[in-house]
């Protein structure tokens, strides 16, 4: 089926999420929708899928104008969607999830689960998915859950499939498999819209590329164009994706983790005998698919994992068993992975957020009072130094863009006297400009002679930023390798195969 969007405009209050966007997707074509976070890709697809109602413009299927009141209409018309956040019910079985919304029934609305199982097996076998219709979805690995999403989209015989950032949660191997699935679907004549901001994937599968920026189509591109050119179109200025960093000048190994283990609240090992060391002036990247113990590792360093065993030594001093405040005072800078939840207090002003870690001491207090004049001076200086784009230091942190929020967190953490810097997914969800800034700051910190620990889930970032890369899988370090290691090897390590 041919899909055409004409002049779609969607506003949320005063914010224009999509402005006069047009798109043409042919059957048997993989059409990439490329753009930064917040460029309006997901909004556009939600309009197409009937979740949002467009303020202007029309949707055409095979040259006929259609109107969708809700996702039900879109599905009935042959549009399927693989959502970025899976629309699966964790406590339901695979079969129950797949049939939801168009259940096969016997008399009087009684579910026909036998028919459902047959259908699931049928579609699953076509693509070699090997899904068990009776497995509980919440027990399945993320990659398999995504296959359930795909089967769910295909069961209503979708002719147009939308993949919304499908690779964000996958290992490199799973990503490769997904690319193969998309190609197989293309062979069957399905029209595919592939939303992403990862240039490598675009270049691998795309037949056509449409680039969105700030809600508008800025142009079409062919997959032959270089990554830098595509990135420039996305961002609207020349960008260089390479991180420039001089060779590391290593000092002594001042940060040493040995035999670190921790249990989760339900008794499974989340950290399993983790050992590594970081030299002064070195960046060690912890790579791996999210949820393999990286969060627990950074928490253990900071003193948030009360039951961790083993040892974490900074300049010979033990960190394990100390309270968070003591750890911070020993010179640990920490950027958490979820800046809106853990990095900032959204309802506090920028200035208040900047002093969160030191609001209890001089020079911020005198007696029982906060010294607000000093705080203003301090915050103004940091906001300038870290280029936080804001009208005032009294702006609430929650109102800032993701990039500016991260700058506030970085400003606070880097303005202490540090002996170690830890950042967990510091560029997650940021625009290209902010990513460049964050990377610069990290490299600068390393060059100043600190040991730096970065948790990265994207291989590109890990390879470019790291001096060495430690790959984690199921709470264990699979191996520690130089950053020149081929991607394929790293990918295998991320799936648990040691190099």
């Amino acid at each position: 089926m041919k899909l055409e969007l004409r002049g779609i405009t969607k506003r949320f209050g005063s914010l224009v999420a999509n402005e006069n966007v047009s798109l043409l997707v042919q059957p048997g074509e993989i059409h990439c929708l490329l753009g930064e976070n917040g460029a309006g890709k997901s909004t556009l697809m939600n309009v197409l899928y009937g979740l949002y109602h467009a303020d202007a413009g029309e949707i055409l299927l095979d040259d006929k104008v259609v109107n969708f009141a809700g996702p039900g209409d879109a599905m009935a018309a042959g549009i399927g969607m693989v959502h970025q956040h899976f629309m699966l019910i964790p406590v339901f079985t695979v079969a129950e999830n797949v049939i939801l919304g168009h259940e096969p029934t016997k008399f009087g609305g009684v579910l026909d689960m036998a028919a459902a199982r047959v259908k699931v097996r049928e579609i699953s076998d076509q693509f070699g998915f090997d899904l068990d219709p009776d497995a509980i979805v919440g027990d399945l690995p993320v990659g398999v859950q995504q296959r359930v999403e795909i089967v769910k989209a295909l069961i209503s015989n979708a002719q147009i499939l939308i993949f919304d950032e499908p690779t964000a949660v996958l290992t490199p191997q799973e990503t490769d498999e997904l690319m193969a699935i998309m190609k197989a679907l293309r062979e069957r004549g399905t029209a595919i819209v592939f939303i992403t901001h990862k240039l490598r994937e675009v270049k691998e599968v795309a037949d056509k590329i449409t680039v969105l920026r700030l809600g508008k189509v800025v142009g079409e591109a062919s997959p032959q164009e270089s990554a830098n050119e595509l990135a420039s179109m996305m961002v609207g200025r020349a960008v260089d994706l390479e991180i420039v960093k001089e060779p590391a000048k290593l000092g002594d190994a001042s940060f040493v983790v040995s035999g670190l283990s921790a249990l989760s609240h339900n008794g499974t090992k989340v950290l399993d005998d983790v050992s590594f060391e970081i030299h002064k002036g070195e960046i060690l990247v912890i790579a791996g698919v999210q949820g393999n113990g990286q969060t627990e590792l950074t928490e253990a360093i900071l003193g948030l994992q009360y039951k961790a065993t083993g040892s974490i030594k900074l300049n010979g001093e033990e960190l394990l068993g100390k309270r968070v405040k003591q750890v911070l005072d020993m010179g640990v800078g920490f950027v958490p992975e979820d800046r809106t939840e853990d990095g900032l207090v959204a309802d506090f002003t920028i200035a208040e957020n900047l002093m969160l870690d030191r609001a209890d001491r001089k020079p911020f207090v005198s007696g029982l009072n906060l010294r607000l004049a000093y705080l203003r001076e301090f915050a103004t200086k940091l906001v300038q130094q870290y280029d936080v784009r804001t009208q005032s230091i009294e702006t609430k942190a929650g109102k800032l863009s993701g990039g500016n929020q991260q700058k506030v967190v970085l400003a606070r953490e880097l303005s202490r006297e540090l002996k170690l810097f830890v950042a967990s997914q510091p560029t997650r969800g940021l625009d290209v400009g902010s990513i460049e800034f964050v990377h610069e700051q990290i490299v600068k910190t390393r060059n100043s002679g600190l040991p730096v620990l970065i948790v990265a889930t994207e291989l590109d970032e890990a390879v470019q930023l790291g001096d060495r890369i430690a790959v984690m899988y199921r709470g264990k370090i699979v191996g520690i390798v130089p950053s020149t290691t081929p991607r394929q090897v790293l990918g295998q390590m991320m799936a648990g195969i040691s190099a």
């Binding site: 979740l51 809700g70 964790p90 939801l100 919304g101 009087g108 579910l111």
Partner: protein, 419 residues
């Protein structure tokens, strides 16, 4: 040796503690005799099924306490053996243990008195009917994502309207229909405020309960109590003997010679279970309660599903309310539900949001509550405050000990706002 996880030995540990209690009961057993009468006296529950009579059994309290201790010790040992050989102790072990344990406690409590089994069961069922209907209302509401604190209000509204309508029309069945409508109306209010106006569900539930109490009290004092004959003397709803089933010895007269509302309850429990787990309607309902956005993206109407399910639940609670008046041929009285809605809520959670388990939990609470009445009528020397406490102690021990971690529907209590 591999360290044992606490989770794996939870059941045997709990059973061990309870076995120690039975040991204490045996050691401290008073010298005396408990008489167990299986059938009640011929005049109390009607004639059906009474053709078959058991002889009275007399048990020496201390002796039976020691026997119970022996039996519970064996079951506990079995549970340990299962756990230590890395097998899951069967659920039947816990159930068997529970039966022995409860029976033992009964004999100790009734020491020196006569315990009539049919009377105990009959009373338990009567007290359980509103609880079961109430917990079904909770199941239907929470499974679709709305926390239903307003069960109490729905029961009370059902009791009031059924009495009023049945009196005015002089027909108990009309009263039943009135109760359905009243319960559904209260839950419609809950749904409107929770869904359309996104009011906190707990708060609106509590507000509704207070509102219904105030409203019924007001109407009761303004016209009902002063004019009993005209507004508050519902006609009796005759009980029906189910042919065949009511002839079953002991259980027949208890369960199958009952008010029609009790039979409606049996159907409601089975019906809700079947609808919830075996039909398209139920699958969609549960999907909305777990992850409304996922349901929305496959074209299920989230709001409509919520309204419908909550109102059906409210209607069932209304029936439970009607049992207070029509089922027991009583006039409406101020706040006559007396907290049954909150106990129903506990039964719902104890029953893990499953209609069948919730119904059994309701029966259990009804049994505990009835025990208190029975013991005070036979003049037991156990303090009545202790007995009042019994249902709640039972809840805490059972939920914490044997049920383990309970997870309700993921989206219960959360408003779904469409963008």
């Amino acid at each position: 040796m591999k360290a044992l996880k606490l989770g794996a030995v939870r059941v045997p540990i709990i059973l061990s503690v309870l076995t120690l209690i039975t040991l204490w009961l045996a050691v401290a057993a008073p010298s005396g005799i408990t008489t167990i009468q299986v059938n009640s006296n011929a005049n109390s529950t009607g004639a059906a099924g009474e053709a078959f009579r058991f002889a009275n059994i007399t048990a020496i309290t201390a002796q039976s306490a020691w026997i119970s201790f022996g039996l519970t010790a064996i079951v506990t040992a079995l549970a340990w053996w299962f756990s230590l050989t890395a097998r899951k102790p069967s659920r039947w072990l816990s159930i068997g243990f529970g039966v022995i344990f409860v029976f033992n406690i009964l004999i100790s409590l009734f020491n020196g008195q006569t315990m009539t089994i049919t009377a105990l069961l009959h009373g338990s069922l009567s007290l359980a009917v509103p609880l079961v209907f109430g917990s079904l209302a909770g199941v239907l509401s929470e499974r679709v994502g709305l926390v239903n604190i307003a069960i109490e209000g729905q029961l009370l509204a059902g009791a009031f309207v059924s009495a009023l309508v049945a009196t005015l029309v002089q027909n108990p069945w009309a009263g039943l229909v009135g109760a359905l409508v009243a319960g559904a109306f209260v839950s419609w209010l809950l749904a409107v405020f929770a869904i359309r106006y996104v009011v906190d569900q707990i708060i609106i539930g509590v507000v509704l309960n207070v509102l219904i109490v105030g409203l019924t009290n007001f109407m009761f004092s303004t016209f009902m109590s002063s004019n009993q004959a005209l507004f508050n003397s519902p006609p009796r709803m005759p009980s029906i003997d189910v042919p065949g089933l009511s002839q079953i010895p002991v259980l027949g007269p208890v369960f199958f010679s009952q008010s029609p509302i009790v039979y409606l309850m049996y159907f409601a429990v089975a019906g809700v279970w079947f609808a919830l787990y075996k039909t398209r309607w139920g699958l969609r309902l549960r999907a909305v309660g777990e992850y409304p956005k996922a349901a929305d993206t496959v074209g299920i109407k989230v709001y409509a599903t919520r309204y419908r399910s909550v109102m059906i639940g409210g209607a069932l609670a209304g029936l439970g309310g009607a049992f207070f008046t029509l089922g027991q041929s009583l006039a409406f009285g101020k706040e006559m539900t007396n907290g049954a809605g909150y106990i129903a809520l506990a039964a719902l959670i104890f029953g893990r949001w499953n209609p069948v388990y919730a119904a059994f939990a309701g029966l259990l609470f009804g049994f505990a509550e009835n025990l208190q009445y029975s013991l005070s009528t036979v003049g037991s020397n156990v303090p009545s405050d202790f007995l009042l406490m019994l249902p709640y102690v039972l809840t805490v021990v059972l939920v914490a000990g044997l049920v383990g971690k309970v997870t309700g529907p993921a989206a219960a209590g959360k408003a779904y706002i469409k963008s």
